[in-house]
């Protein structure tokens, strides 16, 4: 019972943050709202017993990606800090999104999900580490390669033209 309440609170917070991302015109505000949404998701992860994942989310997503986004925002803004972030074509998008939402909710509620009894939550670090170097060794290594490539690519793409 309690857990349900906690869930709803966290869910509402996350959704509110998400709305914030969507609705604000200032990209800075939008980024901050995103941060709130990410925090909400991280807490939901913890609620679902994925403690390691929640921390990773905080570290990587909030601490890395979001900060990077803020950097980008600041680097690409003009003299005035109010970067325009208007939305255009709202009505068609609303229609599409509403339709998608409707279909998805219906799908979720009418499907007989094959569920098993959830296990008791426990520390997952050991299990995740074990899996990374066991079953998922190859994807793990490739993922690190991907990160390397992305790193190099990002540097190359964002280099200024050298005039001279």
């Amino acid at each position: 019972m309690t857990i349900t309440v906690v869930f709803y609170v966290l869910a509402a917070a996350t959704v509110a943050a998400g709305l914030g991302v969507v609705l604000t015109t200032n990209v800075m505000h939008s980024a901050l709202a995103l941060m709130g949404a990410l925090l909400g998701v991280a807490s939901l992860f913890v609620l679902l017993g994925a403690d390691f994942l929640g921390v990773v989310q905080l570290l990587v997503y909030v601490g890395g990606i979001l900060v990077l986004t803020l950097f980008a925002v600041m680097l690409t803004s003009r003299v005035e800090m109010r970067v325009s972030n208007r939305a255009v074509g709202r009505l068609p998008a609303l229609v599409v999104v509403a339709a998608v939402l409707g279909v998805m909710v219906r799908a979720i509620t009418t499907t007989a999900w094959a569920m098993k009894e959830p296990a008791a939550p426990g520390p997952t670090v050991y299990a995740v580490g074990h899996a990374f170097l066991g079953t998922y060794l190859l994807p793990f290594e490739i993922a690190s390669l991907v990160l390397l490539v992305a790193l190099i690519g990002a540097v190359v793409v964002s280099r200024k033209e050298v005039r001279g």
């Binding site: 019972m1 869910a11 959704v15 998400g18 709305l19 991302v21 969507v22 939008s30 980024a31 995103l34 990410l38 939901l44 992860f45 679902l48 994925a50 390691f52 994942l53 989310q57 990587v60 997503y61 890395g64 990606i65 990077l68 986004t69 950097f71 925002v73 680097l75 690409t76 970067v83 972030n85 208007r86 939305a87 255009v88 074509g89 998008a93 999104v97 998608v100 939402l101 998805m104 909710v105 979720i108 509620t109 999900w113 569920m115 098993k116 959830p118 296990a119 299990a127 995740v128 899996a131 993922a143 991907v146 990160l147 490539v149 992305a150 790193l151 990002a154 540097v155 964002s158 200024k160």
Partner: protein, 103 residues
């Protein structure tokens, strides 16, 4: 409502997904679009973890979620680097300005 079940999380994931989709479809700012993409990715992660939880002690969902986060990082890095490149070329990051490939 009932007790907390899988579908709660799934519905939440759907809502987040739609918010992210709306963001992607309507924003003019390139970074705004990227933020929408982040929301979509997070909703996907939520789905993964929820299924992992309600699948009885298997952690595959979480592993996948970690992978997603990693790739999201890579993608964000490259994407924002591109945005910087666009800014350098066009003096603006509004997606409407980048129509040089108009056929």
């Amino acid at each position: 409502m009932g007790p907390l079940g899988l579908h709660h999380f799934l519905v939440l994931g759907a809502v987040l997904f739609c918010l992210g989709l709306y963001c992607v479809l309507t924003r003019r700012n390139a970074i705004g679009i990227l933020m929408g993409i982040e929301l979509i990715l997070n909703s996907a992660n939520l789905n993964y973890v929820a299924f992992a939880r309600y699948n009885g002690g298997e952690y595959d969902g979480q592993i996948f979620a970690i992978f997603v986060i990693m790739l999201a990082a890579a993608e964000a890095a490259v994407g924002l680097a591109i945005v910087l490149g666009i800014y350098q070329g066009f003096e603006t990051i509004e997606v409407e300005a980048t129509d040089r490939l108009r056929g």
